[in-house]
Symmetry: C2
Amino acid sequence: VETRDLRSLLEVVRTGSFTAAASHLGYTQSAISQQIASLEAQVGRPLLHRRPVRPTPAGQRLAEHAARILLRLDVAQQELEHLGRTALQLRVAACPLAGPHLLAAALRDLRAVNPALQVTVTALSSPRAIEALAGGEVDLAMVDGVTAPGNPLELVEAGLMRAAPLAEISLVVALASGHALGGRATLDLETLVDAPWITAPALAGGAVGPDLLSGYRPSSSGSLRYEGTDVMTLLALVAAGHGLALLPMGACGSAPGIHAIAVGSPDLVHRTEILGLSTVSGVALQLLEALRVRSEL
Amino acid sequence: VETRDLRSLLEVVRTGSFTAAASHLGYTQSAISQQIASLEAQVGRPLLHRRPVRPTPAGQRLAEHAARILLRLDVAQQELEHLGRTALQLRVAACPLAGPHLLAAALRDLRAVNPALQVTVTALSSPRAIEALAGGEVDLAMVDGVTAPGNPLELVEAGLMRAAPLAEISLVVALASGHALGGRATLDLETLVDAPWITAPALAGGAVGPDLLSGYRPSSSGSLRYEGTDVMTLLALVAAGHGLALLPMGACGSAPGIHAIAVGSPDLVHRTEILGLSTVSGVALQLLEALRVRSEL
DNA sequence: ACTGTTTACGGAGACCGTAAGTATC
DNA sequence: GATACTTACGGTCTCCGTAAACAGT
């Protein structure tokens, strides 16, 4: 089994089409067809249903492994490319909820020392930030998610990248002021499973463990999905009564029409981590250190 | 970059020889040479020093990634092979410190229900148990290691295998009775960094995180290394005054000449987990459940 | 001089593209 | 009948083995 075949399988599963996968990868659809056929011969069972193109259970599982394998391969190649290089440029991916003040302060320190440094900050959701890191588009990525206190995010495989915790902030439920639940001092998420949540996968949704996700972020009826990355927009949706949102304390600020209530149980926090390639060097390393010093975690 | 090249690189790094790697993989050494040359051309830098054959920093890093990639590939293939198969046979790998009474009791339940079941138990160190699982030699693996309470072992990549915690047992330092430290009620590992530890990598050594490993299990002067898997032998070495050993409470039993002292700080435990392929089925699943019920974790 | 890696070269085979075939909507 | 995947077939190029050259020990 070679990586080329895995890449093709993954692309077919993602797009649901041999033709689309072929054009994305620069092959003809005939080549893709042959590669999939070869893979199926090697593992001795069908991997895809045709017409429509959907993965079989075996195909789904293999595609999941393939995604991890190819991600690691990309990371390995990025690491080798940047090995021992001293950067004059720093590209950071940050998700909107990932403690912007922390990043801003650390960057200020860094630019004071090294004024010539070219800095680029990009707003990306956590999953996309990891892909950007693996693709060499950024040097560092700030990622966030919800976990139990003290537990790392379940975002990347152990050892794939270097991760350092930056902050843990307790959670609040944001709801429209005047909401029936507005009087409570704390709220338990268990009682809100069937509430009309606004799911915002680009805002910390990607890092929630599958068990948490299924328990506390149901895609149940009546829920609204916000795919943007702007917190203000999300708050406006909440204020307008479209539903509840789970946010780190402080993200609501003094937004109008919003009331924030602390989460009582379960004991979860919004955690921010910074990720870099394991061979991170130069300026990226300095920023990592600066953030680590500030974070006190 | 294809998996064939990665496999060759890894084997060359492991054996330190093109010739040996070739014979292990069923190639001629010429083929290996060409594959390595191709890889070096692709990444644009040398991966190996020749004569003697040792990895460059880049080669070392790539080999580490390759090991993970190939392990995952093996696991994926095993999963597909066993998908939907109901086993009449159960092969379990267990490390000596991984709660043998738990396994024994669970197996007794299982054989009571299914007397025809063919059971094989193999004693393997945790890293070898994982390889055996990936190679299809066993269906389940009990693994152990030292972590902070409540934290999973850092043995495998997230999502590679299904892991369930079985037990967490506090640690003791085993020393020869009559040892100068024998009077203490508890011991702090920080004060014992330079003590003559007996390192036993096959007995829970593999699962200790690198940071713990470097802090509390130094390969400093005077230390002794036991590569076997038999606890009694290790205890005999301790009793004979060859050094200290870090063990889960209870492993010493009433061994003669041994005195066990609880570890005061840091707050670490000996943790046992059970691993299976993510698609584990049939009898293996039953045993998993039986163990999970008993473990109360 | 011997052991072990690199280079040269040739053949077998993998792999992809073109194009025709086939099944499903 | 159109769209989308499969199969057939041929050319190219990769890849490995044999064998000779080469470099350390």
